[in-house]
Structures are given as structure tokens and as C-alpha cells.
């Protein structure tokens, strides 16, 4: 065997390489005092290829049209939280592209999604993005009215409409499924069930998070200046932390984060916090790490003294601080909740457009929707979820705060300033990335085999739907 061949055989297979000489996410978590559950302690990565991803998907309006035709019409989408429609008659209007749905609770345990258009001359029955409570849905133009169950109640001057048969004029519906406090809808009558779509492995994860027992304490919406897929991809890896979020890197194991995917529609990363970035090894003390730790909601434990004692680690101390603070805030016993769940960033993507962060200190949900009028823009929403107080009534879900292009995320009421600054940094990149892709001589983007696997996994699913193969 030649020297060259021996050398080659020592190289890891594509996708097998990890940050050299640094502990893996699993090794970091294994050292924690309160051990993590199985859903944290598992890995599910495979190499999916290393070809470039075509740029036209981000720049071509025809690609966006194909997505509206073949992807958004056939996928399960997070339409709203159940908490926004708790009572019979409550509704929320979910809009995707040109489509709009009235998500209505029609019985205590039944939610329906009606296409939001009068069957007479097409007027929307409710304005986009609104919510409220109704006993019936009445069109504001000529007063045609539907019962909560979608059956036609009244066509004004019915003597003039002998051709309108009530049984043929019920409001058309999309499919609805409920999961963990979320309402999902799908326009495709032939799509797999939500359970099949998300897969058993992921369902075993989400069933342990108790997201149905949380409420939205902050909801922010902002239009981002980039294609929706580009915007999503900005949140799928921790590879960008060192350069984009330098204030975070000292307390984030960015380059040794873990990446997994489960079937075609779910992927995740686990990014450990309270440990220094491998890129900055040796440059920060444990005290520096805890001093620079950014909480998603610093109001919970922002003022707690962070001075470390002899031999204490930043990670353990921060876990203890967060445990105590959240126990006080929500009047719950978190002694059995692992350090990792309290501290770390767990980012799951549910294809096509939802991120769930089930961690305690980073309790967000993101939703990305394409701007129906501009494929270079995205309607981005952040929901922060807190546990419902055990001894109090469920607070009303927060009102949506709409930010304009010039506003910082830090200006939104309820948004933590430190976290808002991180989102501003991500947005600033997107402006230049969208413009750069359109200016580029290179017709594809190049991805890391491991750290950017979620982007490849996501784009492969996009391709399957757009090409009609899914």
C-alpha cells in the first residue's frame, strides 16, 4: 500500500469529521449533574451529499410560484396556538400566500379550518391575520352567513338563488390536527396524517416537552429582507455564531454543536451553552463564560449574582441559576429537569416553516412565511412561550407586535434586549446575502457536511415538493 493510500484511508468519510480535539455535545451533556433524558442523549445524522445547492430557489419568482403551487398546498403548517382560540366560537385567521383560513373552535374539542372566502362573490369573511369570537360567519358585503360548523345559514333573498343548494354551499375546509398546543393545517386531502408526516421518533420527543402547558408571553412579527428559505437557513446552524454573534461565542459550544434529522420533515441541532466556543479555547475563564452568558429572557434570572466559587463551572452554575429562577417564576418543581434542558439551545425544524425550541431558557417558536407579493421577503414571527403558572389562571396570549424594517427587535415589548440584538445581527446578514446571491458569479451555495446538514436536509425536502415527488 502506498503512503498516499494509507494517508487517504485515515481521512474520515464525508460527514464523519467533527471539530478536532474538542468534546462532542453528548460528552458535554454527559458531565452534567442532572442527567438528560433519552431524547437529548441520541444522535441521528447521515451524510446527504456535498453538491452545491442551486441559487435560483432564492432568487427566481417562478421557483416561488412552484412552491405556492406544490409545497404550501401539500404540507402540514402551524396555523396558530390553541390558546388563541380557547372558547367555542373563537377564531384566528391564518394566511399563507394567496390562501387564507379561518381557524375556528367549533366545539370544545374540535377545531376546523375554513377557506376564508364568501361562496357568493368571494369577499373574505374575516380580515387577514385577525382573531376574535363569533357565533356565525357573516359576509360584510351582502350578508351571506355560515354557522360555526360551516353549514350555510342564510343567503339573503334566497328566492333569487334557487340554484344555491345549502348542502353544496358549506364552507370548504382544510384538514386540521392538534399537537402539543399547536393547530396544524394541511390543504391536501391526500397528505399523510400529521403523525406520519412528523414521524414516531419526533413525536416521542415533543410528547415530553409539555408545550401545551405554555402560553405566549411575547409575539413579534417583522418582514425580513430575504427569501423565506434563506431566512430559515440563517437559524439552522451554529456555524455562524463566531462571526455573527461574537458576544455569544464565549459561552456557546458553537463548532461542536450536534445536528440530527428524523425522516424528511424534522431536523434539529443541540448547541450547548455555558461552555466556551472551541474557536476561543484558552481565551476565557469560567468566570468570563458565565459573565457573557446571554439568556433568551434575562428578566427571569438577569440580576442573579454570577460570581463563581472555587472549582465551580459556568455551565453548572448557570443551570442552577435558571432552575431556581424558573421554579420561582412558575411555581413548579424543576429538580428533575436536566441541566441540558434548562440551559442548551434545542432547535427543531418542522418542515416547511416552523422552528420549535423546547428548552427552558430559550423557549421560542419561529414561523417563516413567504411574502406573497415579493419572493425576496419573509414574514418572520417569534413567539416566546412560558410555562402556565400552576396556581394561577392561564394568561391571555400576547398581542402581536409588528416591527417595521427600520426597527430593531430590541424595541418589541416583551423581547429581551440581548436576544433582540442577536436577531438584529441575523437580519443584517440576510440583507447582504440576498443581494449577494443575485450578484454572484457562482450559481450554487456550498455547505459544510455536518454543521450545515439541516440546510441540505431542508432544501432536499423543498425540492421533492416543488418537483412533485413528495
Amino acid at each position: 500500500m502506498s503512503e498516499q493510500m494509507v494517508e487517504k484511508s485515515r481521512e474520515p468519510a464525508p460527514g464523519d469529521a467533527r471539530y478536532p480535539g474538542e468534546p462532542s455535545t453528548q460528552e458535554i451533556i454527559a458531565r452534567d449533574r442532572v442527567p438528560a433524558p433519552d431524547w437529548v442523549r441520541s444522535e441521528s445524522y447521515e451524510f446527504l451529499g456535498d453538491e452545491d445547492i442551486s441559487i435560483d430557489r432564492y432568487t427566481d419568482p417562478e421557483f416561488a410560484q412552484k412552491e405556492f403551487d406544490n409545497l404550501w398546498t401539500r404540507t402540514w403548517q402551524f396555523a396558530c396556538r390553541e390558546e388563541i382560540i380557547p372558547e367555542v366560537g373563537d377564531y384566528y385567521v391564518y394566511d399563507i400566500g394567496r390562501h387564507s383560513f379561518i381557524i375556528a373552535r367549533v366545539a370544545e374539542d374540535e377545531v376546523r379550518a375554513y377557506y376564508n372566502a364568501c361562496l357568493h362573490r368571494g369577499t373574505m369573511l374575516r380580515a387577514p391575520g385577525t382573531d376574535g369570537c363569533a357565533n356565525e360567519f357573516k359576509c360584510s358585503f351582502h350578508g351571506w352567513t355560515w354557522n360555526l360548523d360551516g353549514s350555510l345559514k342564510q343567503a339573503l333573498c334566497d328566492w333569487d338563488f334557487p340554484h344555491v343548494k345549502a348542502e353544496q354551499f358549506a364552507l370548504p375546509e382544510a384538514r386540521v390536527e392538534l399537537l402539543a398546543g399547536f393547530v396544524f393545517i394541511n390543504m391536501d386531502r391526500n397528505a399523510p396524517s400529521l403523525e406520519e408526516y412528523l414521524g414516531a421518533e419526533f413525536l416521542s420527543h415533543i410528547s415530553q416537552w409539555g408545550l401545551e402547558d405554555r402560553y405566549t408571553y411575547c409575539h413579534v412579527s417583522k418582514s425580513l429582507p430575504a427569501n423565506w428559505k434563506l431566512s430559515m437557513a440563517a437559524f439552522m446552524e451554529a456555524y455562524h455564531v463566531l462571526d455573527t454573534h461574537p458576544q455569544v461565542a464565549p459561552s456557546n459550544a458553537d463548532a461542536n454543536s450536534q445536528y440530527d434529522f428524523y425522516g424528511e420533515h424534522v431536523d434539529r441541532f443541540i448547541s450547548s451553552l455555558g461552555v466556551v466556543s472551541p474557536h476561543l479555547k484558552g481565551q476565557y475563564t469560567e468566570q468570563d463564560i458565565i459573565d457573557q452568558f446571554t439568556l433568551g429572557d434575562s428578566s427571569v434570572a438577569g440580576d442573579v449574582p454570577r460570581k463563581l466559587g472555587e472549582g465551580e463551572t459556568a455551565r453548572q452554575r448557570m443551570a442552577d441559576i435558571i432552575r431556581e429562577a424558573f421554579e420561582t417564576q412558575s411555581n413548579t418543581d424543576l429538580s428533575g429537569v436536566s441541566d441540558s434542558e434548562l440551559l442548551d439551545c434545542f432547535s427543531y425544524t418542522l418542515f416547511p416553516n416552523t422552528f420549535l425550541f423546547p428548552g427552558i431558557s430559550l423557549p421560542m417558536v419561529y414561523r417563516f412565511r413567504p411574502d406573497p407579493d415579493n419572493h425576496r421577503r419573509t414574514i418572520y414571527e417569534v413567539f416566546f412561550l412560558r410555562p402556565v403558572p400552576k396556581d394561577g389562571e392561564r394568561p391571555d396570549p400576547a398581542e402581536t407586535v409588528y416591527l417595521n424594517d427600520d426597527q430593531s427587535f430590541t424595541e418589541a415589548e416583551g423581547m429581551d434586549p440581548g436576544f433582540g440584538a442577536i436577531l438584529d445581527q441575523d437580519t443584517e446578514n440576510l440583507i447582504l446575502q440576498q443581494a449577494g446571491l443575485e450578484a454572484s458569479a457562482k450559481q450554487g451555495i456550498t455547505l459544510g457536511n455536518y454543521q450545515e446538514i439541516r440546510i441540505r436536509h431542508f432544501e432536499q425536502a423543498v425540492d421533492k415538493y416543488v418537483e412533485g415527488a413528495a
Binding site: 385577525t130 382573531d131 369570537c133 357573516k138 360584510s140
Partner: protein, 103 residues
């Protein structure tokens, strides 16, 4: 606008989370108790003059049960289509056991 406050109802009739409508000098008025705070507005939607009596109150906003327009109870501002015009707001106070409103 009248200079005088007039009795609207007894305070016990509008506990926290409740609302009450009544006609005062020919004007329909709606008083809402939002977590202990009383707010008085026109009880008629500015969109198609439908009553707001049974509208849902959440986060200090009321939504019209007929077509879904929403109004800020503090300012009267129309927040959602199909309404584009505000509703009137009125001063409200408690004197003894009575809620009083000034049109």
C-alpha cells in the same frame, strides 16, 4: 359632549372580565372591566353599525362579533379591517357603589 357624569350601573354589575351595555341619552355605551380597570366606549361598531355587546375582550381590545373588526378600548382606534374609523371613548369613574360615565 355632556359636561356631567351620569350613573351607568352599580359596580357589582361589572366584575373583572365582564362588560355591560346601556343606552344613555340615546347613545349606546359599553363599559368593560379589564382586570379591574373600567373603560367606556361606544357600543356600536364603526364599520356597519353593528352592536359590540357580545364582542370578545382580550388584551384591552374588543372584537366585533359580526365581521371581526377590532378596537382599542383605551383609544377607540380601529385596529383591524373591515373597520377603518375609530369608535368613541368616554370618561368613566366610580363614585361610591356606582359606575358613572360622561358622554
Amino acid at each position: 359632549m355632556s359636561e356631567e357624569f351620569v350613573r351607568f350601573c352599580e359596580t357589582s354589575e361589572i366584575p373583572s372580565g365582564a362588560k355591560k351595555h346601556a343606552k344613555i341619552n340615546g347613545t349606546w355605551v359599553l363599559v368593560c372591566n379589564v382586570k379591574g380597570r373600567l373603560l367606556a366606549v361606544s357600543a356600536i361598531c364603526s364599520h356597519q353599525e353593528k352592536p359590540l355587546f357580545t364582542g370578545r375582550v382580550r388584551n384591552c381590545k374588543i372584537s366585533c362579533p359580526v365581521h371581526g373588526a377590532r378596537f382599542d378600548l383605551e383609544t377607540g382606534e380601529a385596529l383591524d379591517l373591515p373597520a377603518t374609523k375609530p369608535i368613541a371613548t368616554y370618561a368613566v369613574r366610580v363614585v361610591g357603589d356606582w359606575v358613572e360615565v360622561k358622554l
